[in-house]
C-alpha cells in the first residue's frame, strides 16, 4: 500500500471547474509508490516555495542521445521512490491518431515500468511518460520499439515534429500536414536521436493560416499551408449568413487585416491582389468562401519561448513553396539553414536568435533565398535587410 501524504496546499488546486492534475496524481498514488512520493515531494515544494528536482545527465538508451530526460530528487532519503524520476518521450504519431489498442498497451507498459503518470501531449508534441528509474529505461524502449514505436527528441536535437490534423479531418488544409510530418521524421532520424545541433530545433506543420497547432509561436520552423489563387465567393451563401444575423461589415470586412474586402449589403467583393491569406474570412464563412488555385506552404523561421532574448514569433522566409513528396526542395532548404546554424551558432542559441544576431542579409545570402517584401515582419518594421555597396551600384 503506497504511503499517504497530507496535501493541504495541493488540495486547493482541485477546487474550481477545471480538471486538476492533482486529482489525477492522487488516483495514480493510490496504487503506485512512485506517484505517491511524487505527490509528497510536490506538496513539500509548494510548502517550501522551491523545487526539489534536478535534471540532466542521462539522456537515452544505448545508441540514443534523445528521448529520455533524466530527473532526480534532491531529497532521495525522504522520497526514495522518486530518487530517479526520469521522463520518457515517445514519438507521437502525425495528428495524434492512436488506436485504443495502442493506448491500452502503452498504459500497461507504463503501469509495469513507471509511475503510471502520462502527459498527452507535452508542449513539444510527444507522448510523455512521467517517472521511471534508470534500470527500466532499456526494457521500456524494448517494449515500445517491438511494437513499432520510437523515442522522441530531446536535448540539442531535432525535436519530434508535429502537425495539425490536416486533411484527415479538415477540408481547409492546403497541404498534407500528416505526410510532411512523417516524411520529416523519417528523413532526419539521426538529427532527432543523435544530438548535434547548437540547441533544440522544432518543426510544426499547419494546414492553413488558422494555425490550430500554433506553429508560428512554437516552432523554429513553421510550415503553414497557403494558396496562390483567388478566394471563390458564393454570393447566395453570403446572403444566407447575413440573413442568419451575421454582421458581415463588422465581423468580416472590418476584421480583414489587409482591408481587401468590401460589402454593400448585397455583394461581398475581395481584391485578391491585396489578400494576405490569413484565413479569417474563410474560417468565419466556411460555406461562402473557398481558396482556389495552386496550393503550397509558407516557410517561417524563428519562434521560441523566452530565453537568451524574449519570446519571438516565426517570420516569413519563403512566401510560397510547393509541398509535394518527397519534399526535396524544402529539405534542401532546411539543410542549408542548419549548415548556417552549425557554422555560426553558439551553444544554446536558437536559429532565430542567430539570425537576429548575424542579420537577415547574411542568413538569406547563405541559404540562397532572395530578399522579398513578404519577409518584412510588420508594417513600418525594420526588415533587417541592408544593401551592400555592390547592390547600390546595380
Amino acid at each position: 500500500m503506497p504511503k499517504k501524504y497530507e496535501t493541504p496546499l495541493l488540495d486547493e488546486l482541485e477546487k474550481g471547474p477545471f480538471p486538476s492534475f492533482v486529482t489525477e496524481i492522487k488516483k495514480a498514488a493510490a496504487r503506485s509508490d512512485m506517484a505517491a512520493d511524487e505527490l509528497g515531494q510536490l506538496e513539500k515544494s509548494y510548502r517550501d516555495k522551491r523545487g526539489y528536482w534536478k535534471h540532466g545527465g542521462i539522456v537515452g538508451v544505448r545508441g540514443y542521445g534523445s528521448g529520455v530526460i533524466g530527473r532526480y530528487s534532491s531529497l532521495p532519503d525522504e522520497f526514495p521512490n522518486v530518487a530517479n524520476f526520469h521522463t520518457v518521450r515517445i514519438n507521437s504519431i502525425s495528428g495524434f491518431f492512436y488506436t485504443s489498442k495502442f493506448l491500452n498497451e502503452m498504459c500497461d507498459i507504463w503501469d509495469k515500468y513507471g509511475s503510471g503518470l502520462t502527459n498527452l501531449h507535452g508542449s513539444t508534441g510527444d507522448l510523455v511518460l512521467l517517472g521511471t528509474n534508470t534500470e527500466n529505461l532499456e526494457p521500456i524502449f524494448a517494449e515500445f520499439s517491438s511494437r513499432g514505436w520510437d523515442l522522441g527528441g530531446s536535448g540539442s536535437a531535432l525535436r519530434t515534429p508535429s502537425c495539425c490534423v490536416g486533411p484527415a479531418r479538415c477540408e481547409w488544409a492546403n497541404i498534407d500536414t500528416l505526410d510532411i510530418t512523417y516524411s520529416i521524421t523519417q528523413e532526419w532520424q539521426d538529427e532527432m536521436h543523435r544530438p548535434a545541433f547548437p540547441y533544440k530545433f522544432k518543426f510544426k506543420t499547419a494546414g492553413c493560416a488558422v494555425d490550430c497547432i500554433a506553429s508560428i509561436a512554437r516552432a523554429d520552423c513553421s510550415i503553414i499551408g497557403t494558396w496562390k489563387g483567388n478566394i471563390a465567393v458564393d454570393q447566395a451563401e453570403v446572403a444566407n449568413y447575413a440573413k442568419k444575423g451575421m454582421n458581415i461589415q463588422e465581423e468580416i470586412v472590418n476584421m480583414c487585416p489587409s482591408k481587401c474586402m468590401s460589402y454593400d449589403g448585397k455583394e461581398l467583393k475581395i481584391n485578391d491582389a491585396d489578400c494576405i491569406r490569413c484565413m479569417h474570412c474563410i474560417a468565419k464563412m466556411t460555406k461562402a468562401l473557398k481558396p482556389t488555385g495552386e496550393k503550397g506552404a509558407t516557410i517561417l523561421i524563428g519562434s521560441k519561448a523566452p530565453f537568451v532574448i524574449g519570446a519571438t514569433l516565426s517570420w516569413v522566409i519563403v512566401p510560397f513553396i510547393k509541398m509535394e513528396p518527397p519534399y526535396d526542395e524544402f529539405k534542401d532548404l532546411i539543410r542549408k539553414m542548419w549548415e548556417f546554424w552549425d557554422e555560426y551558432g553558439k551553444n544554446r542559441e536558437r536559429i532565430g536568435e542567430l539570425i537576429i544576431r548575424k542579420g537577415m542579409r547574411e542568413f538569406l545570402e547563405f541559404i540562397g533565398v532572395e530578399p522579398q517584401p513578404q519577409q518584412i515582419k510588420e508594417p513600418r518594421r525594420d526588415p533587417f535587410f541592408f544593401w551592400t555597396e555592390a547592390d547600390l551600384q546595380k
Binding site: G57, I58, G60, G65, G155, S156, R194, P198, Y199
Partner: protein, 71 residues
C-alpha cells in the same frame, strides 16, 4: 583514413577534454575533420559506432554533449 583510426582519434579527443571542456558532437566533427582532413560525415559515422558500442555516451547539461561513460 581507416574508420578504426578515426574512432581512436575521436576517443582520444574526448578523453583529453574530460574534466576540462564538455564537447558537443559538432565540436568533435569539426575538430577531427580538420585535423585528419576527412569529411564530417566520416567523423559522424565513426562517432555513431563509438556511441553504439557504448564507448562514448551522450549526456545533457543544459545542452547535449559526448562523454566517456562513468566507470
Amino acid at each position: 583514413m581507416e574508420k578504426e583510426e578515426v574512432k581512436k582519434k575521436i576517443y582520444e579527443l574526448v578523453e583529453k577534454s574530460t574534466g576540462k571542456k564538455k564537447l558537443k558532437s559538432s565540436d568533435i566533427q569539426k575538430t577531427i575533420s580538420a585535423e585528419a582532413g576527412i569529411s564530417r560525415d566520416e567523423v559522424k559515422d565513426a562517432l555513431r559506432d563509438l556511441i553504439d558500442e557504448g564507448k562514448l555516451i551522450y549526456t545533457y547539461f543544459g545542452g547535449s554533449f559526448v562523454e566517456i561513460p562513468p566507470k
